[in-house]
């Protein structure tokens, strides 16, 4: 059935009469469904659709069940379809040139209630692309849906599946990773979903240097969490040991000096990004047997023993890195001894000068 302007005056009158008090009043009383019912009278028709300028066909069907299950089940139709408020059933089909244009334009109404997240999304990479005319970049409804709106993180794995709708290639890599597989297969509450690293609304372009330079702190958010890491018997010293070393020190100083392209390896350069695996997995980039190949990404002529230059986030001990341990021990005694002796000499000299006066 094509939408035609069939005035149903009675229905229009009802809508006009009820719209004033149909809104939620504190949520304690059951909501008046008169408006929904009025809209659904036409829009539950499974064949209701309209032609767009682009010759695409836009379905106008809304199923009552879908609406009822959605998180917005207590939101009136015209709270989103604001332009139809009080219009009744004599509204004209709206002139959207394409289906995409329809989705993009309708996502703007989310701002009315979800102001904070909407504003955040204006700083996001998707909005940036939209502003450049890339209409395929995600808008609210692309991730959240429309009439079937559910809680985006219930279950948590839903987040990653949502991103996968567009980012299919990366998603395939991610779900095989130590983080992704634990999320998809076990609904593990600790592993990061896409939005834990990339954020949900103000998503930063991950290729930006400023974002990349924050990688150690980002990984550190979980990997320095004693309670969480204890569950998986993982060290929480990974961040501090990284920062003490040449790679980490460089990144820290670079970040403080205004950024730029990362000069040395970040967490992700050795461990991988979406393909990150357990350190002892056979395909792990940081497994001893594979480590030299990983080093060679930046140090192309690295020899077989070059990886031994990196203490794998461990403190040097007599057993693990005897040479480093002994050098440390040597200076631990030498520095106080030498400097102490010099200070003692000065003190004695000054004392003698005072006594001789």
């Amino acid at each position: 059935m094509r939408v035609t302007v069939l005035p149903r005056l009675a229905m229009a009158a009802t809508l006009l009469a009820t719209s004033a008090w149909a809104r939620r009043d504190g949520g304690t009383e059951p909501r008046d469904r008169t408006e929904d019912k009025a809209c659904l009278e036409c829009h539950s028709d499974k064949e209701l659709e309209t032609d767009l300028d682009s010759e695409e066909v836009l379905s106008l069907t809304v199923e009552a069940d879908t609406l009822a299950r959605s998180v917005h089940s207590d939101v009136d139709c015209t709270e989103c379809h604001t332009d139809l408020k009080g219009k009744g059933d004599d509204h004209k089909p709206k002139p959207f040139p394409t289906r995409r244009e329809f989705t993009i334009r309708y996502s703007e109404v989310c701002k009315d209630c979800h102001f904070q997240n909407f504003t955040r999304s204006l700083d996001g990479v998707h909005h940036g692309l939209q502003a450049k005319g890339k209409t395929e970049a995600a808008v609210c409804a692309d991730c959240h849906g429309s009439h079937d709106m559910g809680k985006p993180s219930e279950p948590r794995s839903r987040i990653s599946r949502t991103c996968a709708k567009c980012h299919e290639k990366i998603s395939k890599v991610y779900i095989k990773s130590v983080h992704g597989s634990a999320l998809q297969e076990e609904e593990n509450p600790d592993v990061p979903s896409c939005t834990d690293c990339h954020r949900a609304h103000d998503i930063i372009d991950p290729r930006l240097n400023a974002w990349r330079l924050e990688t150690p702190q980002m990984c550190g958010r979980c990997h320095t969490n004693e309670k969480m890491m204890a569950k998986y018997k993982l060290s929480t010293k990974v961040l501090s040991s990284y920062l003490q070393d040449f790679h980490g020190a460089t990144i820290e100083l670079q970040k403080g000096a205004g950024g730029g392209k990362p000069l040395t390896a970040l967490c992700t350069d050795c461990h991988g990004i979406h393909d990150i695996s357990k350190v002892d997995a056979p395909n792990s980039k940081v497994m001893q047997a594979n480590l030299v190949e990983t080093c060679r990404a930046c140090h192309p002529t690295a020899s077989a023993d070059f990886p031994a230059a990196w203490l794998s986030h461990y403190e040097p001990t007599l057993k693990r890195a005897p040479l480093v341990y002994l050098v440390g021990l040597f200076y631990k005694f030498l520095i106080p001894f030498i400097i102490g002796s010099l200070i003692l000499q000065i003190a004695l000299h000054l004392w003698r000068v005072v006594v001789n006066r």
Partner: protein
């Protein structure tokens, strides 16, 4: 300037000056890399134009320091081979007895102070500390400059060991200079506020009599030996 005596040659004055400039440059560009979390570290790095520039300056200074060490040691070696000059920096048995005599004097156990030649035991100690410390800094610095080559020639573990030695030795050298050298050439009541002899090359007769009586006697032929060249 009849009451002043020439103590250092122009070569020695210049060597000290270059060493001083390089030491400051290496400290300024080195410590921000060791003490990351100090706010001054980031300020210095930013002032120099970023960590890349800071490292480049550190490496250039390090290469120049290496050249200075080689130059100085080669010069010393040549003068030894040619048997010119005196080996006035070589520690002798007298230095150890001088140290004990001085200690007794300081503690008030004895009223006689040791009489020193061209360099007293403290100056020799500082000199050799600089030579050995400098060699440690040069070798470990080269390891850090060429880590891949180091892992090929030696073993990978040498690299973090060199890094730790470089930063520890650097800290020790810095503290020694700040505490010991600044005391002896600026703050000590004997020279306060400034001992300029290494810059002017000259020292007063009065200080020579007090601090280096044996050399003065030798220079003026008042005791054993004829005047000798500078070492």
């Amino acid at each position: 300037m009849s009451d002043s005596i020439r103590r250092f040659s122009t070569k020695q004055v210049i060597e000290h000056l270059v060493l001083m400039v390089l030491f400051i440059a290496l400290s300024v560009t080195g410590f921000p890399q060791k003490f990351l979390s100090a706010s001054a570290s980031q300020a210095i790095v930013n002032l120099l134009g970023g960590v890349g520039v800071t490292r480049l300056l550190h490496r250039i200074s390090g290469v120049l320091f290496t050249a200075l060490v080689v130059w100085h040691l080669a010069g010393a070696l040549i003068s030894i081979v040619r048997r010119r000059g005196q080996l006035s920096m070589v520690p002798t048995k007298k230095d150890f007895t001088d140290a004990l005599v001085t200690l007794r004097y300081y503690l008030g156990l004895s009223r006689t102070q040791a009489r020193f030649d061209r360099y007293d035991y403290r100056q020799k100690f500082e000199y050799w500390g600089l030579v050995f410390g400098g060699l440690v800094m040069v070798t470990t610095g080269l390891v850090l400059l060429f880590p891949v080559a180091t892992a090929k020639l030696l073993v990978g573990q040498v690299i973090p060991a060199a890094k730790l030695a470089h930063s520890s030795e650097g800290l020790m050298a810095f503290l020694a200079i700040i505490i010991w050298h600044i005391y002896n050439s600026h703050l000590s009541p004997d020279v306060f506020p400034f001992d300029g002899s290494i810059f002017t090359g000259r020292i007063s007769r009065e200080r020579m009599e007090k601090e280096h009586p044996l050399e003065l006697e030798r220079l003026e032929g008042t005791k054993e030996g004829a005047p000798r060249g500078r070492g």
